[in-house]
Symmetry: none
Subunit: 201 residues, 4 copies
DNA sequence: GATGAATGAGGGTTCATTCAT
DNA sequence: CATGAATGAACCCTCATTCAT
């Protein structure tokens, strides 16, 4: 059972770092110090292993939001929690967001129905929040999917581009560039989104 | 010379759709109706072909912004042009943004110095805009790289997730979901960014 | 494990017959009735396979000389054993000598440090023999490497040119040519070398 | 016409250094700064180019010997000239000998009838020398081909192994090794061969 | 003479996967 | 649970060669 976990952990890291196609089963097996055939014993095949990782990740996010949001009634508060949950996850472990970016770029070519199902449940919570806001006359009607992708897109790019931004500074002596960061990203993002949801465009 | 262009066009489409690793030279050659060896004759190898595509794309964006921004003095106006240029490009041809998302996810593993150089020139223009705003007391000091990635991140996710959003609606009879879009995305994004640049966080 | 041996045997024969570059992995795999990927499983790559073969061959010669030479004290006798060992090997299996000739012709472009190491150990034995001869006033000081290459060069050309010599006779009705061979080659070579080592040139 | 010569010269050097199969037409064209198609215009194909080089080389040697040997009557003197001609050639330009070693190793797989014809003429001169010696009771009957290959084999190994011998010294701090060379190689080789031809083995 | 573009065949190598043990 | 051996398909790339200009 130990090996199973090691495989999952290594695979996740590698998939995040290099993408699905650039990650070989050989690499995973070496990284996890597990025989290659053992991966097939535990996960049937590569697609399955990848899906399992995606499912675990999104379930973890789902549960995190779910547990916090239930006791909340205020829609603005709910939105804050939604954003915070994603941001906290991105700061703690950005691997999932790297994988997600590639999936968006590929129109979700590797997303199984199961993963999409959980994803919809997450979206459903955001929809609930927005609907409540609309019912109370606080928010205008907006497509939850768009709101979601703006939140996740901003967080993903902000967090995942850190290494690249640093590289730019290092490689090109771009030292004179101001490196002032954005302060409390989650907070600002919340304000931006709330403003967007309030504006009747 | 005709074949060379066909190769570039097909390769760009395929790289955008499936990513660098999932795109085979065989596929490109068949799509472009060109002998596989001809690709190597023109582009030396896969990495080189990929870089050439990236370089062409980013140069095209650079030139587009450059040509518009020179005659502008007002920093807010400059920012608008910057955002519009990217958004217009994304609407016209989102392939580059798909490729970009994957590069961010991989910390730019395939980005050559040449590409990064042009990228820095683009960033330089945004830096100039922000600096002018700061000098005139309109903007607060912010790192241009972060501002840039927020712009591009939002545009990328918004534009590239369209297919996935549609898929969610289709596959899951998620019909009751409101499909109201965001209206003028470029306009809204501009307002959000300006607000962020004005706030002294 | 059976397949591994078959691959080694076939590869050696093909490398000897056609040279490193003219021998394809496909050819080896077909000859050994082994899947091509299996060669890579066992030997990592072509260079490695080639090196392994070279190493095996030279180790075999080394061991053969080593086991005979230890109990010998007389330097002239030692020299005889050294020459005999090579000649016997060439008569029994000339493949190694064909490979060696090509390596000499390429300045040992495919020789790894490991192979060179064993080769030096072989040379060391000849050096020991010569040194003993010098100490006892029988031999003059000569570079063991030159003596070695003369021995091996003569044996290689004599043994490996047999087919070509026959071809000349067959193709050109060169029948009137005397076909008297050299008699006991090893014996004659020994006498020549000893004479050379004794002469103070 | 200039390019033709450049191609020949570069091809010869490359064939000698790396062998027939490891030398590509691309490489030759780049080295000679000639368009690849031009090589085909001048030499029809790779085999032909290679043969032309071999033919030129062996003709040059043949002519060198021929011009010296005609006025000689004494067989021992003739033998000396024969050996000297090869040795001088090897010292001046060892490329041909490297090519020859590989051909021997491959049983002359690339040798055309034309090349073999000239080669036989060279051999014929040696045969004449030996025959004269036999007629005068100085030499015993020996196969000229064997005598020839011993001469050429020794010279080839001695001359072509120089780089490898140096490498052994450099790479392995084999410094304590005596580096005394063989003195006048041609002279010694002559004595050895004469002795062999005189001995009635 | 000389060239750039083009091609089909084959090169070495890696892949995801299976199976007997 | 775990492993070493084995496989067929596919991958990137290079080859010798041709042809129109």
């Amino acid at each position: 059972m130990e090996k199973r976990v090691a495989i999952l952990r290594c695979a996740k890291r590698l998939f995040a770092k290099k993408g699905y196609d650039a990650t070989s089963m050989d690499e995973i097996s070496k990284c996890a110090d597990a025989n290659k055939a053992l991966i097939y014993y535990h996960f049937k095949n590569k697609e399955n292993l990848y899906s399992k990782i995606l499912l675990d990740s999104i379930c973890s996010i789902h549960d995190s939001i779910r547990s916090q949001i239930d006791e909340i009634d205020d829609p603005e508060n709910g939105l804050k929690i939604y954003i915070d949950a994603f941001y906290a996850q991105a700061v703690k472990d950005e691997t999932f967001f790297r994988i997600l970016m590639r999936e968006i770029a590929s129109d979700g070519s590797h997303l199984t129905g199961e993963v999409l199902g959980v994803f919809l449940k997450v979206l459903g919570m955001l929809e609930g929040i927005i609907k409540k806001g609309v019912d109370r006359g606080i928010f205008c009607e907006k497509d939850a999917k768009i709101v979601h992708f703006l939140i996740v897109g901003t967080i993903s790019f902000y967090q995942c581009s850190k290494a690249l931004r640093k590289k730019l500074v290092d490689d090109f002596q771009n030292k004179e560039t101001l490196l002032k960061d954005m302060g409390n990203v989650s907070e600002q993002l919340y304000e931006i989104i709330v403003r967007g949801l309030k504006s009747d465009v």
